[in-house]
Subunit: 664 residues, 3 copies
């Protein structure tokens, strides 16, 4: 990562007349940009026929951009392969779980396990890396683009069988781990093992979880193959990949990130999937925190929304101010680089309505001007921000094995891992309590509060890590459906919550999956937790405490009076077991109480997001107004605006979609 | 069927360590169980490779169980074939109507018409039958498991063509029956005939009905092949199959049952498909009555719900008392055996959340204890119940041809055979009027009232049977959409209701399929039927009586005043033709009147189900409280509790989910 | 087209016993019918085996009908091919966009691009044409039946590649037009080009639009091949095809119609797709106007609804009077022939519930009697109507390229071309303002008002045609999303509305796609347009006038006050640009104002439709009561009823579903 703060755009010179390039470069420079990502979808322009490379046009484009002061990140173009690649071998196509193979005309249509495709990728990546290893304007690489979905093709099936053989060594071990004798599925040859296609019904949970891991590994290893080529050729360049935030759940991002120099991701706060849900600043914040946690370091946004998204449909444009606000929000959560996607809106192709900073006709409108304001600001203040870090005392544990297992068996129609996780994160965010996101085996010693929603699959290592944390004085929050599965996705052979049972000090005697019904929780006013009743409608564990205190009991049904939430003192710390699952109300109630019990100041300021980054001893405070209306907040003392250099005290006023950054 | 009452469990010793077997067997014995079903999904354990059999483990398991006093029913394991079978011939896979072949990893993935698969099945069944023919602990066999869905594979297509050739003899006869000249579909070779895949649009109704019959016959003949092997080897064992109640509509269960010694079925009162609909004791009752009617004899429940069902999702557990209540309900409707599914909840495989009596970890909880209470009760009272029979004066006619035909052409988006049938059955059940369920060609002389909902396909034999019943003094209820089709699924070449027209004494001059609209029915207060108006929203026949009296007329639209319901005196009996179809209100209204006109006492006791079985001259009265709250019912005289031996009179009080059985 | 008015039925003698034919012919004659369509689905009866023809039965059928005074239209039977054709070559089957091939048992299962199928079609058409070229009873031909959907088969793919090569000449030109470099899709061989199957995601818009055109051309050229055979053999017969009105959007009907002598279409006012929407006389009227506009001449209805439609489900029958009313409505909009579908309701096949005039059993009911009343009326008055023409001063421009482009990219989930078009047409229809429908390049000089909804793809020719019209004094109404695309489906390289920008005198500075939100429009009371606010919920263009007056401005959001509707004076005419899109309210408001500004009398008579046709100087006024209740309308002066010959003046009273035709 270069020392300065990176601001720039994703640019596709191959899509525009060469005479236009200098105009575009000048517009970038004038906007204060210093980096540009190139070539990630340009394979057919770089290799028009097998082994025939043409880098001249890209050389000229880089020259033009470099002449305007821009540094270049190159994308390896393996997300969109030329038609001639696929015409030569249709077995490369990815197959969906419904058994249908992809066809040409989209992107990400390849099966990542396909050896022939990897040889194609190796050839183009090797050629590019060799061409630009010593180019002075090139600073780094993005491998592929938004690694994608699972492939169920025949090629994937063979690769899965080989992966299983490596993992288990023997069919006996695999059959035993999966309990394959169920429904007579004991395999007698590796070649008999299927991939979990949809056709017919749900599969053995052990097989399905292994397939999810294998699928994730396929992208990790494909990335590693490219990365090793680039690193060998270009030791001075960084290498990254653009991930897809918290929402994407087909790849274990801890694994994918481990091989990268740093993480970048693609941040689109307003898309179809959230226009209908209503915009919510916590959603993008959760994405940023997730990305920051993958390597416990700062990240870049490699694609920052520059306008309305849209393929067949057009999403509403960012309102005036939002484009800049969203870029600052990324910074407020740990970004050291912001690259807008894309520079000019495409006139052709599937993404005609995925709007860039410039209009279709290349003219300048309010989106470019707003990005320019941001770019010029960062020219001034970027160095003071770059490299500063967030410091959190709260962490949420994000576990892809548990997420995969609950994809396979959701337990209840209303139970989604992502939704429940977001309820906990949002309750923190609403109070402006900064939170990190880690894996269940990361070092947790820096935190006072660990929240582990739906830790469904628990390994002995994770259980030991959590016990170590609690023994050391920390507070751990567990939920129902934790500790249910072992690493083979078998139900544990002991009472729930399995390996966490002694730590939690409770036994689940029975559970009630709520289908079209609900139950109530009443908090015990004699304990520390005094709150109004909460209704839940997804799941109720009936708890039998063995040493734990009861914080809440059920109010209805045949188990009225049974324990629902408990707290167990362990060593110097404690474990809260939340046996009921519903909507956001329960995390809200519990965190209101837990945070009051901690020292964190309560800063509940609706739609006014406040975060901190620390540059050494200097604190940077970010104030982000996510509403169209002006908002005010009382400041604790004297401060200085990083944006204006003015002294600020008393009441800070922010205009609609306004931003302020203060140093003490 | 053995003389004593059978109580037991479905057990999978192959899924648990052998050291555990004796513990499980002791728990079964302690619960009062006397039978256990084994091996139905164990093919790969019994034949790990082609022709290599291993019965040792099963011998040992039977020995252990037998040593604890349990008798054994063996399942032929053909519902789940080993992976090595399928690896050898992928043409075995069943194909769905959408053209997708099944893949490995589920159950019931085979095409029942596949000759090669039948040879595999023959081999394993022959080996098992030979192994256990003289085993003293083995008492009977279950063929396969829950015979399943239609197959549209190429193998099925060839078999269908051969089936048609056998049925019709000539293409001319088949083309004529189907009216295949429509849309130029006249076939000129048997090999041209398709199976009715979804691709493209709806098929010729004659072809589609024949395909439904052929598909049903495929399972019937597959069962017969296995059954003949077992019968030849094990003449002292009974042979049965576990059917799926009233709801399953892909196989003509009268045909399937005809080859069995007795019928068993799988009874899950609380599953997805009824959790959302709300539980309803009439639903399970309808299943029991349907099964009892197939051979007009008592039946077993081979899988009685033992806990929450669930594959990917978990269904709510039976509430305390319900597990026992549901078992008694089965008995109240004619069961002579109750086998709980399953003994211990599986830790592996698709059915991890299809809960058994024991928990995942093998411990005992409230479900085992409740089953134990039931098992010990039956140890005491079972002999007094086994073999006693229901006696009904009312019968509903269940016609699979009509059901298949209305699958193919529902006539109206809201018209479902099963729903309409259930409306009539439920109206009887709500009044605690016991009802049988028979086919339209069964002997009806024992009944005073025959209800034939949606008798859409009518053969001359059925019409003659109904006329004979009415002439003899019976009351017959017919509905709209009866007599519409001949045996070739052609619309009859005469006015509706076709072959039933003279019997009903009405002609349908026109019909109105109600789409988003409704009409009213007004009963004629001058006739015997005096009731409030009823609204219907599915179908209206406009009737022209020829001798029949008009019981109700339409109130709206251009046919206001037209006859809607008529009654025709025929011989010593009468025929009610109900020309309108709506929701449950119309059957309720009509049965309220019809039953009042009969001698049956009205026992409208909400959620308190009352049935009778007769052991020779002794009447057993069953009282089942399907609510969580206590209920009371006034008894006619002195009685004795079979459960407690106590004398009972006056008011019988039942606790929530409580059960009582009285003898006079 | 014969000089007299044609009234008749579609008849399938091959489906009924030959002894019945004379009875049917007599019933037709008695109903006043003079034409009958035959043989369109009878291929296998005419050619039972390859090259073996059997015309004897058809000769006899024609003889029988002819003997009863009926003239014959023959359908070429290529919509339903014999099973033996498909058994010989399964590559003929059409493939859906989901990649599934059709199977036998339906109709229209062929891929129209298949050369082998076209040779089959050529053989049967040549044989039929030769057989009946000189038959005195035969007057014309219908080619195939309801040409259908797009095919994505391998055969279609090869044909598409050849079509593209013919169109573009070089891959370079095609890649350039499509901007195929986007996502690395540049093609290096014609054989690499895919068809836009659904598998994987949306395709390049340029490719997708060309595929839609290619698919349309496939049917046009297949029709032309048949038509040339028929014309060569039967120079005295007319040749037509039965189209599917306004609603069908897979074929460019202007192209398809251009080769025909005249257009016929299949008019079913009450079907599934409108029963749920509520009946609306404007819907059928729009279909008639669309068909009349294709060749700017009168048309026939080749299939006029004769009863309830229905395949698996039954639609409500026409109420008493509606069958006749709908036939007169067709005439009121320019029909010179009415052929009822079908004569007798089929007893067999998919269309068992697609009711004809006779019942299933061949008896006569109210539908036949109503058609007979109509037929006898037309016997008297048909000659006075046939050939008379509509005269409109308003025209709507119907553009299939725009419609296809918006299928590919709807822009907004609520934006449908057909719905928006219908809003404008319905607002005219509700006021009984007759309107024509033309293409954007037709001569517009006869009109004073041109409405061009969603003219999304604009060619220079269309733009010039519109400017010519406006310069000449006409008023042109344009809407948002006009001029967005060039002929390659690329976004234009200039500000919107692109080629129409100077004409409209506005520039679109930004747009807002409304997702779950809305905005208001306020009309400027100082301009001519004084109306209440209108809310829109689909799309808002923000307009910057360059010479145009502002008629309305937005009331909400960050662009409150921005121009929404403008009027530009150009030459002697003017252009209204309607920048907002919502529901029917905006077209209603604007046409209320525009029509008041014109001379057209306002005739807002709810559910009473009034149209005119002119027989030379004689005006025929049609009054159609689409409600079940009587309605009245004040007449301007003395008139004569064409139906009764009576003089009429003052108030014209129409009974429910009643019809009147007046001459001045």
């Amino acid at each position: 990562m270069s020392g300065k703060f990176a601001v720039g755009v994703d640019y596709y010179p191959e899509q525009w007349p060469e005479e236009r390039w200098a105009t575009d470069a000048a517009l970038m420079r004038d906007a204060g940009f210093n980096v540009v990502r190139l070539a990630e979808f340009a394979w057919v322009k770089l290799e028009p026929a097998l082994g025939e490379f043409d880098f001249d046009w890209l050389d000229r484009a880089i020259e033009t951009l470099s002449a305007h002061g821009l540094e270049v990140i190159l994308g390896t173009p393996t997300a969109t392969m030329p038609a001639w690649v696929m015409a030569g071998d249709s077995s490369i196509y990815r197959m969906s779980s419904d058994g249908r193979a992809a066809t040409f005309g989209h992107r990400r249509g390849y099966c990542p396990h396909h050896a022939g495709y990897r040889r194609h990728a190796e050839r183009i990546v090797r050629a590019m890396a060799s061409q630009y290893a010593n180019h002075p304007a090139v600073i780094g690489w993005q491998i592929d683009n938004e690694f994608g979905d699972r492939s169920y093709s025949a090629v994937a099936q063979t690769a899965f069988q080989a992966w299983l053989e490596r993992k288990y060594g023997s069919l006996e071990a695999m059959n035993e781990a999966w309990g394959a004798v169920f429904w007579s599925q004991t395999y007698t040859a590796w070649s008999e093992i299927p991939v979990p296609l949809d056709t017919g019904g749900p599969h053995n949970p052990g097989l399905a979880l292994d397939f999810a891991r294998f699928s994730s590994d396929g992208y990790v290893s494909f990335q590693r193959e490219q990365l090793e080529i680039v690193r060998a050729a270009c030791p001075n360049h960084f290498v990254t990949h653009n991930l897809m935030g918290f929402g994407y759940d087909q790849i274990d991002y801890f694994d994918l990130a481990s091989d990268l120099d740093f993480v970048t991701w693609d941040n689109y706060p307003r898309m179809w999937w959230n226009v209908y849900a209503g915009d919510d600043a916590a959603r993008a914040a959760l994405g940023h925190a997730t990305m920051r946690g993958l390597k416990r370091q700062n990240f870049w946004v490699m694609e920052q929304q520059a306008g309305a998204g849209g393929w067949q449909m057009v999403v509403p444009h960012p309102r005036p101010g939002e484009l800049r606000l969203w870029a600052y929000q990324a910074i407020a959560h740990g970004a050291d680089g912001i690259v807008f996607f894309r520079f000019r809106t495409a006139r052709h192709g599937t993404e005609q309505y995925w709007h860039g900073l410039l209009e279709h006709d290349g003219t300048v409108g309010r989106r470019y001007l707003e990005a320019k304001q941001f770019g010029l600001e960062l020219q001034r203040i970027g160095a003071q921000i770059a490299g500063s870090v967030a410091k959190s005392s709260v962490v949420l544990l994000h576990d892809y094995d548990s997420r995969f297992a609950l994809q396979i068996q959701p337990n209840n129609p209303e139970l989604q891992y992502a939704t429940q996780f977001a309820h906990w994160y949002s309750a923190l965010h609403r109070r402006n309590v900064g939170a990190d996101i880690s894996s269940s085996t990361d070092d947790l010693s820096a935190y006072s509060l660990v929240i582990a929603p739906l830790l469904h699959v628990v390994t002995p290592e994770a259980a030991a890590n959590l016990e170590h944390f609690v023994q050391g004085g920390g507070t751990l929050v567990l939920t129902a459906r934790s500790g249910v599965k072992d690493g083979s996705n078998a139900v544990v052979n002991e009472a729930l919550p399995g390996l966490l049972r002694d730590l939690a000090g409770v036994r689940v005697t029975e559970y009630d999956s709520l289908i079209g019904s609900s139950n109530g929780l009443r908090f015990d006013p004699n304990t520390v937790l005094d709150a109004a009743d909460v209704t839940v409608n997804i799941w109720c564990d009936l708890l039998e405490p063995s040493g734990a205190d009861v914080l809440a009991r059920y109010t209805g049904g045949f188990y009225a009076g049974a324990a629902a939430i408990t707290r167990n003192q362990v060593g110097r710390g404690s474990v809260i077991y939340v046996g009921a699952i519903g909507d956001a109300a329960l995390p809200e109630t519990l965190l209101e109480w837990l945070l009051a019990a901690q020292t964190a100041a309560k800063l509940e300021t609706n739609q006014l997001e406040i975060t901190e980054r620390w540059q050494g001893e200097t604190r940077l405070r970010f104030y982000l107004n996510h509403s169209a209306d002006p908002q005010s907040v009382a400041l604790g003392g004297q401060a200085t605006s990083l944006l204006t250099g003015d002294a600020v005290s008393g009441i800070l006023k922010l205009e609609g979609y306004g931003v302020e950054i203060l140093t003490d």
